[in-house]
């Protein structure tokens, strides 16, 4: 006990000798929870992390952070349906952050400025893995294997890498240069050997690959047209949707009917409609069982809403909740289709069943009808793995049950998007690395993301979402890209809209508002990556900092 003379005097700041931390029943702790965008991304991108870097103008660091999950941001930034933005907490505040726009910006900047992929060349004696198919899944798998210090040989049946991105997605949506440059840069990395013109079952054999390589990843996609007919009837000049897109991309020309109906509700169908418009078709109709995407629609089309909207701007007619009842043929040639309104309704057992409504049949005069209802896996070269099923069934880590063989992408039948394929490639790479007794360094978060209610939105300001320029419909010709990207200023401003869910943004609220000066600010990053430490000697556990933390990064836990 200190000795003081009698009378009311004390030394300055002497109360620090009295540790009010002993009063505490609960304590604040820093908890870095996944942001909803991170949680929702099929490729496992932590958008919150790279948006924070973009906001600070650290573009290259942001891109390097982004490619730790997805090496193809210029591609996915254009074609991904961005579930991250659907999940974005800011969507409940004003408008979701344009994550895809920033992703695309970073991908484009990396190509433009030639930023080096952040990876060291693998040792010469590193195990070599065979990746079959240089589509999104295969490229992602190869990249993540390389990051883990392995060597990769990538086999591709076509002459260029990119898979469906290179062969089928139209250039007005995904310019060929972007695909060639982004994939090309990846294939040129030291440690990745690109072998074009090698088709599985023709030029290379699965059993040989399994013998020669430490592991095999199959990402061969699904390119075989799904058989289609109406009651067994097909027109004699039946074209398949994907094949037409590939033809358009390769040759720049397709048969142009006066009036055409495209059947399907996915991106292939929408792409094909827009290609027909560009090729000169007068009337293009999209016929789909599903509804327009929108809030509360139970059965939306799988196509990207913005692509659909642009298609409609370009004059494509979208006939929703419509089925094809009958083909009207003159000889072998289609001259019309009979459509009927239909909808999915619950039956007596509550199961959804598609019901056609009598009396709504109508005839559409068309010169061509094109199904774009999906593709099947072409199993040539790995029939023994398919065992008669339509697609390769994979476990969560990409294993297919055959030792040393993994799969990802459309060949599994459940990827659905380029980004999901990237994610499957990444998971399979992690499994391959682990199977070779190495540290994968590829982490996934499955914990619940930060809920909107956990944020304190008082500390944010409403701000309109930034949009890149869009070509007016009249100027959309040929392969001109419709959507223009962000300039650096717009990208930075848009990244500034990120609410930083679940991660410290060093806003100083906890430091400013603690009545007990129990939050201390650090000059450099503290151990947990924030800029603050709690001084539990004085913290009384009031919870004010947690209540006023905008991002939900501070949580109160019962005192241990």
């Amino acid at each position: 006990m200190k000795q003081y003379p009698r009378g009311g005097i004390a030394e300055p700041g002497a109360s620090l000798d009295y540790h009010t931390g002993s009063w505490r029943l609960q304590r604040p702790v820093h908890v870095h929870q996944a942001a909803p965008c991170h949680h929702a991304c099929p490729a496992g991108e932590d958008a919150q992390a790279y948006l924070a870097l973009v906001e600070q103008g650290r573009m290259q660091a942001a891109w390097e952070s982004l490619v730790t999950a997805n090496p193809l941001p210029a591609i996915t930034g254009r074609v991904c349906p961005h579930p991250c933005e659907s999940a974005c907490n800011r969507g409940q505040y004003d408008e979701a952050v344009s994550i895809h726009g920033i992703e695309r910006f970073l991908g484009d900047e990396a190509i433009r400025q030639g930023w080096a992929y952040p990876v060291a060349p693998p040792p010469a004696d590193a195990p070599v893995v065979a990746v079959v198919g240089a589509g999104p899944a295969g490229l992602s798998c190869a990249w993540h294997l390389l990051r883990a210090g392995l060597r990769v040989d990538v086999f591709e049946a076509e002459s260029e890498p990119g898979g469906i991105c290179a062969t089928a997605i139209p250039g007005y949506r995904l310019p060929p240069d972007t695909v060639a440059l982004e994939c090309g840069r990846l294939m040129a990395l030291d440690g990745i050997e690109f072998r074009p013109g090698q088709r599985l079952g023709r030029d290379i054999q699965l059993h040989e690959l399994r013998q020669q390589y430490a592991a095999v990843f199959l990402g061969v996609g699904a390119q075989q047209a799904r058989p289609w007919s109406i009651d067994g009837v097909t027109p004699g000049d039946l074209h398949d949707g994907l094949a037409l897109l590939q033809e358009w991309k390769r040759v720049g020309q397709i048969p142009v009917p006066e009036r055409v109906a495209v059947v399907g509700g996915g991106n292939t169908a929408v792409d094909l409609c827009r290609v027909f418009k560009r090729a000169g078709a007068k009337r293009v109709m999209l016929v789909t069982h599903s509804g327009m995407p929108g809030p509360g629609v139970p059965d939306p089309m799988r196509a990207l809403p913005r692509e659909l909207a642009q298609a409609q701007e370009e004059g494509v007619e979208v006939l929703t909740h419509r089925g094809v009842r009958r083909l009207v043929l003159r000889g072998e040639k289609a001259v019309g289709i009979e459509t009927v309104h239909m909808k999915k309704l619950p039956d007596a057992e509550g199961r959804l069943r598609r019901v056609a409504f009598e009396g709504t049949e109508s005839l559409l005069h068309v010169d061509m009808i094109v199904p774009a209802t999906g593709q099947d896996v072409d199993g040539r070269g790995f029939e023994e793995l398919l065992k008669g099923s339509a697609a390769l069934a994979i476990a969560a880590d990409g294993a297919i049950g055959t030792p040393g063989v993994y799969a990802g992408g459309d060949v599994t039948g459940n990827a659905g998007t380029v980004t999901a394929a990237v994610g499957q490639g990444r998971r399979a790479a992690a499994a391959i690395v682990r199977s070779l007794q190495r540290e994968a360094g590829i982490d996934w978060t499955d914990a619940a993301p930060v809920a909107f209610a956990a944020l304190n939105t008082e500390y944010y300001e409403p701000m309109r979402r930034h949009h890149g320029a869009v070509l007016p419909p009249a100027e959309r010709e040929g392969e001109l890209e419709v959507e223009q990207g962000f300039d650096p200023a717009a990208a930075q401003a848009e990244a500034g809209r990120c609410l930083s869910c679940g991660n410290c943004m060093a806003c100083d609220n906890c430091y400013t508002l603690c009545p007990d000066t129990a939050v201390l600010k650090t000059r450099d990053l503290a151990e947990d990556g924030s800029h603050y430490v709690f001084d539990y000697e004085y913290c009384k556990g009031c919870g004010l900092c947690a209540n006023e933390c905008p991002t939900g990064y501070i949580q109160m836990v019962v005192e241990p």
Binding site: K2, Y4, G8, A10, E11, P12, G13, A14, S15, L16, D17, Y18, T20, W23, A52, E55, Q56, E458, Y459, Y460, E461, P462, G496, S500, M505, A506, C507, D508, N509, Y511, T512, L513, C514, P515, D516, T517, A518, L520, K521, T522, R523, D524, A526, E527, H531, V533, D535, Y536, E537, Y538, K540, G541, C542, G543, L544, A546, N547, E548, P550, M556
Partner: protein
Amino acid sequence: MSTITNAGAPTRADGTISLTELREQQPRFQGFVGGHRACVGCGQALAARLVTEAAGPDVAVANATGCLEVFSTAWPDSAWRVPWLHSLFENAGAIASGMEAAYKARGVSAKVLAFAGDGGTFDIGFQSLSGMIERNHNVLYVCYDNEAYMNTGIQRSSSTPHAAATTTSPAGRERLGKRHMKKDILQIVAAHHMPYAATASVAYPSDLRKKVRRAMEIEGTTFLLVHSPCPLGWRHDGAKSVEVARLAVTTGLVPIIELERGSLTGSMPIREPRPVVDYLRAQGRFEHLFVDTPAAREELEHIQALANYNMERYQLRGSGHDARDTAGADTVRRGGVRWA
């Protein structure tokens, strides 16, 4: 003791520094430190911290009796790192006047701050405050307004708002809390024709800092009324102190304004006014208003009318986006960039 790295600072062999050392390297001046005995989530402790941070080290404090005085100086400890003097409940203004005169006589350049609660300002210390202003001493007088005598057990003061329940204005069959209105101390003080009198809230620290600095620059008496929630007396969770303070502002019940020579020169516009029930419902001292009786309904309407009156009188209704309105003034930015 937990440790953190802090490059550039004196470090231990392992590159870490202790929290004690870190505390001495904080970016803002700390005139009021931890270890004080305030209740959890005390709005007054927060207010004192924010005011002393903004005022800086060249000040001396005269403190009236009250919570702040009691909890900050449990002998032999003091939470103050600036010269600080306490005498009585009723004489903060007089003591501050004397301190200022003494500094002046000795040629010392320092600002004197007078700190008092609402009891020591609105009621007991009012005459010495009035005298100090009349003589225009170079003092910044800060009233930490928690709207009752909290230190002695939550008795009503002339600052207690209408209809709030305290131990001496309890809610019951006959009355729904305090019968009388809250005294408009700011207008009374400003009527001394003083250079600067303003209100602030702990929910808007940047605005509060700006006002402290403004007042510090003025030669003469200045007055700052800081709305400071009391979790114990207002009966809300200590974690909600800032939230409650913010609602007091956004409902219009506590106008954030500046008066110079008695005239309105500044106000914080309310971008999206909230209904007063949002503020009242957050506090136990108003819980008796949330029963379905004609009297309670009338009181709620009455309090809403008081808020509307404030909005009209001080033109608080915002018009669109304003970086200094209630929604813009507390906006946070990455890296802790604040406007004050």
